[in-house]
Amino acid sequence: MSDSNTTAPTLRPPTAKVPLFSIGRVWTIAGSTVTQLVRMKTFYFLLAFALVVVAVGNFNIPTTPAKELSMIKKVSFGTMDLFAWLFAIVSTALLIPRDLEDRTLYTILSKPVRRIEYLVGKLGGVLFVIAVSLLAMFAICAVMIYARESLFVGAELEAMQADSRYSQEEIAEQLSLIQMQGLRPELGVAVLASFLKASVVAAVTIFLSTFASSSLFTIIVSVLLFLIGHAHTMATNFWLHQTDSNLFVQMLVKIVKILIPNYQLFSFSEGVVQGEAINYVVVSQMGMLTGGYLVVFILLSLLVFVDKEF
């Protein structure tokens, strides 16, 4: 009787259908990832980087101004590159296990958030922090290069003008030698190269972390893949030469080349730093290749992650 009298609970009207993919949700996850990484005191690395740049800028080696500027650039951009890929591996490897440990993952996935959105958001957050760090490091090293370049140009100009033997043309030629190794807008492409490499590394690491049992495993395997990916061409030439292009070795090399990304390709920042002319068509193709890597590895990660139970 009483049962018949009780009114049935009023059901909420059906909510709007959850869209398959929402940029807003990705943005929120990326934002929280950035906060998470900033709280890990990531940007303290910049202090160490600044120290490295200042130290290398004050090496007391008897060399030409152009050579000293070249040395500052090489060390600065080498350190930037190192930071970018190392950070991409470590931070990406830590993110999913950290969410699992903090139980944030359960909260996120219990909401109408698709797993692809979660993965893209996480990767986006990591890439944003890497981009900001690279830009900050570029700014630090640009200040150092500009300061040294101005100093060298001033000193050289003064010395050459004091000597009446040098014509204006010779002075201009000498100064252009220094300025060629100084601060130039093309150096931005070197930063882009490091970013592209770090993006691919992060995408591969997020794929590994979807099925890895621990962060340590992900980090170790990612670093190994990174080293193998860099030694592709070297090892291929070496093995094929050593074994007279043995069929088995050829197949093995092919498998390695197919399964492991060719990271060496992304090291074109070295040429840019050395002052080589930039082929923008190739650089844009490298950008597209990076995009391909990101899409494919996110889809592969989704394939593993989509029905993973926690």
């Binding site: 290398v56 090496f59 080696i61 030409t64 050579k67 070249s70 040395m71 090489k74 060390v75 951009f77 080498g78 350190t79 590159d81 190192l82 890929w85 010779e170 490499k197 990174f226 080293l227 860099h230 030694a231 061409t233 070297m234 030439n237 070496f238 080349k257 197919i258 399964l259 060719n262 990271y263 060496q264 390709l265 992304f266 090291s267 074109f268 070295e270 040429g271 840019v272 730093v273 050395q274 080589e276 002319a277 930039i278 082929n279 190739v282 193709q285 490298m286 290749l289 391909g292 494919v296 889809l299 592969l300 394939l303 593993v304």
Partner: protein, 282 residues
């Protein structure tokens, strides 16, 4: 069982996806690699010799895509070897550096300068070694420097600074006027050619036995180019050649011999301890 099968099929799908992407990207990557190497943005892999000589840390750095960084640290290490006059170690360090960055001509120039000029100069004064050994090493280092320069020129065929350094080795250490002249001659027309190279080519040709007539024609042509080339050394060399080749008097250049100009009186002569600028060294 169903779960295991599901898991395995997923794994197969992942591997298939990886392989498919690998097959698709391989030709693209190969093409991009060629383009990057051709535009000098990507360095070719280091040679086998460099790999064998590299320390473990340097090798790891190289594999980690940090070739430039490793090259810089090896340059610092080489400088330490230079400070300790450890020429063998220095040469080994530069062998790796030039393998890591074969297109950086500064490395080649420094290597030639260290071995061809510094090491040989050290052999002239290092009294810890017997004279015979010093002489032997002097020539060994000089020839090594020539070989390094030849390898550098193979890598960078249009490099003027490498040839300049090689010319210095021929000129100062081997005293080979013919080779010096030949190397200066090779620099003519290269990008970054210094203005004095054309004159130096002629000066050393004039001192090369059997090349006197050629040197006379060459230097006379330079002389006829204009007043800016009427420099004391050029005039002296032409006058020497005129005398040597018995050039008829009307065809000789009219300038007086700069060596036979009246010397400034001793009153105007700078004191022996006076350096240019009027500074006197106590």
């Amino acid at each position: 069982m169903k779960k295991i099968l599901q898991k395995w099929s997923r794994l197969i799908l992942v591997i298939a996806g990886l392989a498919l992407f690998g097959f698709l990207r391989e030709p693209i990557e190969d093409k991009l690699r060629v383009q990057l190497v051709e535009s000098n943005l990507l360095l070719p892999p280091p040679g086998q010799t460099a790999m064998e000589q590299m320390s473990q840390s340097a090798l790891m750095g190289t594999l980690g895509g940090l070739r430039s960084l490793v090259a810089v640290f090896l340059t610092l290490e080489a400088y330490e070897h230079f400070s300790n006059k450890d020429w063998e170690q220095l040469s080994q360090a530069y062998a790796v550096i030039t393998n890591l960055e074969p297109r950086d001509e500064d490395h080649w120039v420094s290597w030639i300068w260290h071995i061809g000029i510094n090491a040989t100069a050290n052999m002239e004064i290092d009294t810890r070694l017997p004279e015979f050994e010093r002489k032997r090493r002097f020539y060994a280092y000089t020839l090594e420097a020539v070989k390094i320069a030849e390898n550098g020129i193979k890598q960078l065929p249009k490099s003027a600074p490498i040839r300049m350094q090689l010319a210095e080795v021929y000129r100062e250490k081997l005293k080979d006027n013919c080779a010096t002249s030949r190397v200066y001659g090779d620099i003519i027309g290269l990008p970054g050619e210094m203005p004095f190279v054309r004159r130096f080519h002629g000066y050393f040709m004039a001192r090369c036995d059997g090349k006197e007539q050629e040197a006379y024609d060459y230097l006379s042509a330079l002389y006829r180019e204009g007043e800016r080339n009427h420099l004391p050394t050029l005039i002296v060399e032409i006058k020497k050649l005129e005398k040597f080749l018995n050039v008829p008097l009307p065809q000789r250049i009219p300038n007086p011999d700069p060596d036979k100009r009246p010397q400034p009186s001793s009153r105007n002569k700078p004191a022996p301890n006076q350096i240019p600028g009027g500074l006197v060294i106590p």
